[in-house]
Symmetry: C3
């Protein structure tokens, strides 16, 4: 068994959670903030058999990879024409920080 | 020293917390959700000497074991007589997921 | 890589957080309660290269050490003159509990 601790940006945490359920992998979720990732994120604790760690990592990569996204600037109603950016801008979204920890004992009571 | 991470269903977490205090075992609590356990649960971080890990596991078993409980169905006021279940039903309550992790260093500042 | 789990009393957590940012060390924060430390505290997860663990411990010691502080008692308006303590009292503030955990794998996606 390993304990996978995955810190997932809020934007991806619901999708990641759904993917775990589809694969019948149990996780415990804790609300967290900060770190590499922009403000809101969720910390997942996942106890998993050694031979399935790779599966968990694949699910994270498929659902939570950091990527750029085009965001349309909010239209500057009544704003200064000089400061108005008329084209969409790229922002970084998603991303995950993952620790795989050794476990000495694991119990389900 | 070990780090015991115990995920305890909300129904049992206060009782477990009290038991730890009686045994003079310190724990840090984090609000968590999901996993094996039904919705609300609490994640306890317990730093403990190797020779007391067994004590902590016993306290968890005594206070947080998954068990069945009879629940009386809510009376179906004005409901369809055909769909009314007139006898109590068994539901699973309690339960704990426990990880015992090795520690390389432990400090109290 | 190591995973440093630091449980920091609320009184010191903002200062600690700022110190980590100054040193360019990323941390994830989780709200927590109880333990050694008085009521509110914050649990920091810090993934860090082996050779910088000592730096993190130094930052914790410098910002979060348990110490005594003089606190003026709240004036007992209309209270019993016999029970009024007319001098400041020393209370314990700050403090940190720190676990350094081994990591088998670390990823940033
Ligand atoms: Ni294993
Ligand atoms: Ni030990
Ligand atoms: Ni290492």
């Amino acid at each position: 068994m390993k304990l996978v601790i995955a810190i997932i940006q809020d934007k991806d945490s619901q999708r990641f959670s759904n993917a775990l359920i589809r694969e019948n992998i149990r996780a415990t979720k804790l609300a967290s903030t900060g770190g590499f990732l922009r403000s809101g994120n969720t910390t997942f604790f996942i106890g998993i058999e050694d031979e399935r760690v790779e599966d968990v990592l694949t699910i994270i990569k498929e659902n939570c990879k950091s990527r750029e996204q085009l965001v349309s600037p909010i239209s500057s109603l009544g704003g200064n024409a000089d400061s108005y950016i008329p084209y969409p801008v790229e922002v970084q979204v998603g991303g995950a920080t993952v620790f795989v920890l050794p476990i000495e004992q694991y119990f389900q009571f």
